[in-house]
C-alpha cells in the first residue's frame, strides 16, 4: 500500500488537510474513529489522528492536523504525490449514532475536523443539529461552510471577536442549555481545557455530553496503555474503550498533565528539524 497524498490544502496557519490513499480504511471507517499515521516507516513517530472524512469509491481518507511537533511539521512539509510512511486503522469505537432529538455539537480549533463526520452522521440519523464552532481568531476557524450545510443552527465565536461573536464556546452553550426545550445531548471536541469547561457547563443542566479524547498513544490497539485516562474513577484506554467517553466522568486535570509529558523533548526535536531545514535550504 502506498498511502499517497492525493491533495493537500492549508486551512489556516498551522492546520493542514490531506486526502490520502488508504482504501481499506476508507471502506471500513465509521464516524468517530481514528487512524495511526507515521511520516516515516522506519523511524517516524506514530500519531493518532481522527478521520475527518472518507471517500470509499476513491479509496481515500481525509486527515486534518495541526502542526505542533516535529512529526506534524514534517507531515505539513509533504506535497501532493508524496506518500506517508503508513496509516493503520480505523481504530477506536465508532460513535454511537441514533436519533436523540436535538444535539449540540461544540467544536474548538482543530476539533472541528473530527467533529464534522460525527455531526454529519447525527444529521443523517434525523437529529436536529446545533453547532457551535470556536477559534482564537477568524484566520484559525476551519470547516465553517461544511458545518453550515449540516446544521440547523450554527453559532461561530472567536476569542478576539474578529469573526462571529466575541465569546468562548461555553457562552452560547450555556444559553442553548437554558432554552425551554433544552438539547437532548451534546458532543464536544477540541482542546482538553475547552472540553473540560463545556462539560462543566452542560453538567449543570443535566445534558449528557460526549467528548472525544486524543491522548498520547503508541500502538493504538490497547497494547501500550499510554493513552489511559480516568473515567468515573476507573482506568480506561482511549484507543480501545474510547475515543469517546461521558465527558461528565472524565478526569480532565489528570489527562491534561499526561498530555504534556513530552513537551520539552518535542520542542527540542522540532527546533532541530527547523534548524536542519534552514541548513539544507528548504523554506
Amino acid at each position: 500500500m502506498s498511502f499517497k497524498i492525493l491533495s493537500k490544502k492549508q486551512l489556516s496557519e498551522n492546520v493542514f488537510q490531506l486526502d490520502v490513499e488508504a482504501p481499506l480504511v476508507a471502506r471500513s471507517r465509521k464516524a468517530g474513529q481514528f487512524v495511526i499515521v507515521s511520516v516515516d516507516e522506519d523511524a517516524g513517530e506514530r500519531i493518532p489522528l481522527t478521520i475527518a472524512g472518507a471517500d470509499p469509491q476513491k479509496g481515500s481518507i481525509r486527515l486534518i492536523f495541526q502542526r505542533v511537533g516535529k512529526a506534524t511539521a514534517q507531515m505539513a512539509d509533504l506535497h501532493e504525490a508524496d506518500a506517508l510512511g503508513y496509516i493503520a486503522g480505523p481504530l477506536g469505537q465508532p460513535t454511537h449514532i441514533q436519533k436523540f432529538g436535538s444535539v449540540v455539537c461544540v467544536g474548538g480549533g482543530i476539533g472541528n475536523a473530527p467533529l464534522l463526520p460525527i455531526a454529519t452522521a447525527l444529521k443523517e440519523a434525523d437529529n436536529q443539529i446545533i453547532s457551535i464552532l470556536g477559534a482564537r481568531n477568524q484566520e484559525l476557524l476551519i470547516l465553517e461552510d461544511e458545518f453550515k450545510k449540516i446544521s440547523d443552527e450554527l453559532i461561530v465565536v472567536t476569542d478576539d471577536g474578529s469573526y462571529g461573536r466575541k465569546a468562548l464556546v461555553t457562552e452560547p452553550l450555556k444559553e442553548i442549555c437554558s432554552r425551554d426545550s433544552k438539547p437532548d445531548c451534546a458532543i464536544t471536541i477540541g482542546p482538553a481545557v475547552m472540553m473540560k469547561f463545556c462539560c462543566e457547563t452542560t453538567k449543570g443542566f443535566n445534558v449528557p455530553t460526549q467528548v472525544s479524547l486524543n491522548t498520547i498513544m503508541v500502538d493504538g490497539t490497547g497494547m501500550c496503555g499510554g493513552c489511559r485516562v480516568e473515567v468515573g474513577g476507573q482506568t480506561k484506554f482511549v484507543c480501545v474503550d474510547g475515543p469517546e467517553f461521558d465527558g461528565h466522568q472524565v478526569n480532565f486535570e489528570q489527562m491534561m498533565k499526561r498530555m504534556s509529558a513530552y513537551k520539552a523533548l518535542e520542542q527540542k526535536a522540532l527546533e532541530k528539524y527547523r534548524d536542519h531545514k534552514c541548513k539544507i535550504g528548504l523554506k
Partner: protein
C-alpha cells in the same frame, strides 16, 4: 593450542575409541556463555550473550550422558529430539544437529536465546540432577543457539507443496503466527499474515530488546517466510480494518489463525498510576525497541522519559528487560521492586544474573502502596510496604503478606509496571460467535480450534501469559489441524 582445545582433543580421541565414560563426561567443566562486559554493555544495545565457540560447544555437548530415555525431551514443549542433536554436536556434526532441531522447531535461533530452559529441558537433565544443581545441566539452549547461528548464513528455504487453492489468514506475526504460516504454506495453501504494527515479529520486535534477541534474527525468519511465498500485510488491524467474518465470507479465506498475543497491560490500581513517568512495560519497551526511542533526536522521533531513578515493578522476564533497558537509556539507579523473594521470581535465571551484573538493584519483599507526584503531575517518589512470605498459594509459591506499618519511601522519577497483560478486547468486540472465557481468552480444544468453523487460535490470547516456545508449540498444533481441515 590452549588448555581447552587440548582437553577437547583428548576427549575426541577417547570418543573415537568408544572409551568416553560417564565419569569423563562429569569431569568436563560446564561451559560458561561468553558475554559482553557488564559495565561496557550498560551503554550499548548490542547482544549481551555472545555465543559458544566451536571448542566450547563441542565440550558442552560431550557433557551429555546420552541417556537412553532422553528425559530432556519430556521438558520441551515442542519435543525437539534434544539428545540426538546434542550427540551430533559432540561428534562434530553440526549440520545434522540443526536438521534434527528444525524437524520440530522453526525458530531455533530465537528459542536458543529466549526459552526458559531451566524450567523446561534442562530441568530434566540427568547431569543437573547428578550435581543437584540445575545450572550444571547440559546447556541445551546455548547449544541450540550455537548450531542455529552457524546455519543462519546458508538458510535454505523449505519446500512448498503444489497449490491447493485454499487461503489461510494469520492474524499476528509473532512466534505463533510465523510457525503457523510456515507449516500451512508448506502444505501448499496460500498464506497471508496480517500485522497491526508497521513491522513484523510481534513480541520479538516490540517487546524483547535487541540486547537479548537481535532484530536481524527475527527479520531473517520473516524473510524465509516471504521466500516461501507467504504474503505479509502490515498496518492491518483485524477486527477494525477487516473483521474475521469479512475475511472469511468476503475475502475468500478458508481458515483463520488468531495469534494476536495478550496485549492489554495490567496496572496495579494504586494511587498515582496516572502520573507522568508511569509506564506499562509494554509502552516502555515498545518505545525503546520498536520505535527506537534510544535514538530520539538522532533519527528516531518517538520520545521516552529521560530518567534518573527508575523503579520496575515485577519479577518476570519483561521486568528484567525493562530494568535493563532503563540502565541502557542512562538511568543512574534502577530498582527492581518485587513482592516475593528472588527464589519465586518467574524470570529466567540468566536474565536475573545479567540484570545484576548491569547494576540493577533488587528490592525484594516490597511492593508499592502509592506513587507520589508533584504539582505538575510528575512522579517524584514511591511509597512502599515491606512484605514477608506466608503459606503457599494456588501457584505453589509462598504468598507475600504485607507487614503493617512498614511504609517507606524511595526516590524515583519513573515507574515501569511489569505485572503482566490481560486479554486484548479487539477480537472479542468484533467477532460475534467466538467463545471466550471470563478473562477474555479465546476458548480452544486440544487442536487449537475455536468455537467458530475454520477459526483456530493460540499463544497468549489463549493461554494468558505464555512464552515464545509455548506459542510456537500451539502454532504447530493449530497448523496441523488447519492442514487437516483444508484437506478434509
Amino acid at each position: 593450542m590452549d588448555a581447552q582445545e587440548k582437553m577437547l582433543n583428548e576427549l575426541i580421541k577417547k570418543q573415537q575409541a568408544d572409551e568416553l565414560k560417564a565419569k569423563d563426561r562429569y569431569e568436563i567443566p560446564a561451559q560458561d556463555m561468553p558475554a559482553q562486559d557488564g559495565i561496557k554493555r550498560r551503554s550499548n544495545m548490542n547482544e549481551v550473550a555472545l555465543g559458544y565457540t566451536e571448542t566450547q560447544a563441542r565440550l558442552e555437548a560431550m557433557r551429555c550422558l546420552q541417556c537412553k530415555n532422553a528425559p530432556c525431551v519430556e521438558g520441551c514443549p515442542v519435543r525437539i529430539r534434544i539428545r540426538d542433536f546434542v550427540v551430533a554436536i559432540a561428534e562434530g556434526n553440526n549440520e545434522e544437529a540443526i536438521s534434527i532441531i528444525k524437524h520440530n522447531s522453526l525458530l531455533p535461533a530465537v528459542c536458543g536465546r529466549v526459552c526458559p530452559q531451566e524450567v523446561q529441558c534442562q530441568e530434566y537433565c540427568t547431569v543437573g540432577k547428578k550435581f543437584k544443581d540445575p545450572e550444571k545441566s547440559v546447556s541445551i539452549g546455548r547449544l541450540e543457539r550455537y548450531v542455529a547461528d552457524l546455519a543462519k548464513e546458508g538458510d535454505e528455504v523449505p519446500g512448498v507443496a503444489l497449490p491447493t487453492g485454499k487461503k489461510v489468514a494469520i492474524i499476528g506475526s509473532g512466534p505463533g503466527g510465523i510457525v503457523v504460516a510456515a507449516d500451512v504454506r508448506r502444505a501448499g495453501h496460500e498464506v497471508t499474515i496480517f500485522e497491526a504494527f508497521h513491522k513484523p515479529g510481534g513480541v520479538m520486535v516490540y517487546g524483547i530488546p535487541e540486547f537479548r534477541l537481535p532484530k536481524s534474527i527475527v527479520q531473517e525468519e520473516i524473510d524465509v517466510l516471504k521466500k516461501m511465498g507467504v504474503e505479509l500485510i502490515c498496518n492491518f488491524i483485524v477486527g477494525r480494518t477487516r473483521t474475521i467474518e469479512q475475511l472469511m465470507t468476503e475475502d475468500g479465506f478458508d481458515a483463520v489463525y488468531v495469534g494476536v498475543g495478550a496485549g492489554l497491560p495490567k496496572f496495579m490500581n494504586i494511587e498515582g498510576e496516572h502520573l507522568v513517568g508511569v509506564y506499562s512495560a509494554n509502552e516502555y519497551l515498545t518505545r525503546a525497541n520498536l520505535m527506537k526511542a534510544y535514538q530520539f533526536g538522532k533519527g528516531a522521533d518517538t520520545p521516552i522519559a529521560v530518567s534518573k531513578n527508575v523503579a520496575v515493578l515485577g519479577g518476570g522476564n519483561v521486568a528484567m528487560d525493562s530494568a535493563r533497558m532503563a540502565v541502557r537509556l542512562g538511568a543512574e539507579n534502577v530498582y527492581l521492586v518485587y513482592r516475593r523473594s528472588e527464589k519465586e521470581m518467574p524470570a529466567r535465571v540468566e536474565e536475573v544474573h545479567h540484570a545484576k551484573e548491569e547494576g540493577v538493584q533488587f528490592c525484594t519483599l516490597q511492593n508499592p502502596k502509592r506513587i507520589l507526584g508533584d504539582d505538575q503531575g510528575n512522579v517524584v517518589g514511591m511509597e512502599c510496604l515491606k512484605y514477608e512470605l506466608g503459606e503457599p498459594d494456588d501457584s505453589g509459591r509462598r504468598r507475600p503478606v504485607a507487614i503493617e506499618g512498614s511504609e517507606f519511601e524511595i526516590d524515583v522519577d519513573t515507574v515501569i509496571v511489569a505485572i503482566g497483560n490481560g486479554a486484548n478486547p479487539l477480537i472479542q468486540q468484533t467477532t460475534p460467535g467466538l467463545e471466550f472465557n471470563k478473562w477474555g481468552n479465546i476458548v480452544v480444544d486440544e487442536n487449537c480450534k475455536t468455537s467458530l468453523q475454520g477459526v483456530y487460535a493460540g499463544g497468549d490470547i489463549v493461554l494468558g501469559a505464555a512464552t515464545v516456545i509455548l506459542a510456537m508449540g500451539q502454532g504447530r498444533i493449530a497448523a496441523a489441524a488447519i492442514n487437516q481441515y483444508l484437506h478434509g
